[in-house]
Symmetry: C2
Subunit: 188 residues, 2 copies
């Protein structure tokens, strides 16, 4: 009897399918997310052919998906002795995984947007026939995204245990913020 494949477990199949759906909601190719989900569940690194058969996808498709996942840094290549084929395994630490996804999407989509807004802000500053509120709103968006991006660049460097501790605190971190006139400061 052949070793039971992951895909034969209904719950695993459901997981992979759902992950694919969710990915596509976030602008990620369905095949890419499915391959990711499969590798996340796989105990051993898998080679491309194996992934194809398991998910019923074309080889080319899997190849592209793997490249994409590697560019995110959440899947890596390994080699098994006596086997020429590339094998692939997923990042198993979910914190690291999330951080890598966020950093990559920031790099791809947010940073260029900030750059564009920066340019537009400059161009608008050099004009005098533009309604003030337009200049102001684009400028504000620029500043906002810049702040957000800077914040992420900052906190992602924190050691993981610190990050976990911060998250577990939730809203309680607010205790440490100097109170001006808002509620939610020190309660007693």
């Amino acid at each position: 009897m052949a070793k039971a494949a992951i895909i034969d477990i209904p719950e695993a199949r459901a997981f992979i399918l759902h992950w694919g759906e969710m990915g596509s909601q976030w602008g990620v190719n369905r095949s890419v997310s499915q391959v990711h989900a499969l590798l996340y569940l796989s105990k051993e690194p898998m080679h491309a052919e194996d992934i194809c058969e398991t998910l019923g996808l074309a080889r080319s498709n899997v190849s592209t998906a793997l490249k994409e996942l590697q560019s995110y840094g959440i899947v890596s290549r390994t080699h098994l002795i006596g086997d020429r084929r590339d094998h692939f395994e997923a990042e198993l630490d979910l914190w690291d995984m999330l951080m890598k996804i966020v950093i990559e999407r920031k790099k791809r989509e947010i940073d260029p947007t900030i750059q564009t807004l920066s340019d537009l802000t400059d161009q608008l500053a050099a004009r005098d026939d533009v309604p003030e509120h337009v200049r102001e709103r684009i400028g504000r968006m620029h500043q906002f995204l810049g702040t957000l991006g800077g914040w992420y660049d900052d906190v992602r460097r924190l050691p993981r245990p610190t990050l976990v501790a911060l998250m577990k605190m939730g809203g309680k971190v607010a205790r440490f913020i100097p109170v001006r006139s808002q509620s939610g400061g020190t309660k007693h």
Copy 2:
């Protein structure tokens, strides 16, 4: 001479176009993001017909887009005296805007995923023919998303100035986390 429309400002047009592109990268319909960008730049609330002409979109398309933006809570209807038509304006507070977008996407995509993972975890617990690592990894993902979701539900209730202050602190919030054995604690 007619009042110069926003769309005649090249920088505004670039902003709207870019916003549309970025939206589509995140799984948001391009028309939806464009309408949002336009309303964000508009000083006055606009009615649907006006939006159509400005962006060159069909009436039906704009109607759908407005509905979507309202469901996110980042665009609202208003009425002008002496005008039966609905008028629309965008949320101008970018913090509020972001919070609303995130809460809505969480509701639509993350929460159902957590639910699914919860179900799968239960089902897996009732089986004894499933590799341990599969059970464990799905369970871990469930827990991870739950923690993340809980954290967001928590911090989003903080007063806005507190949130802004926290963000401005960036990684410095880590000062307040009890140090175990990691770097990044109190530096001096």
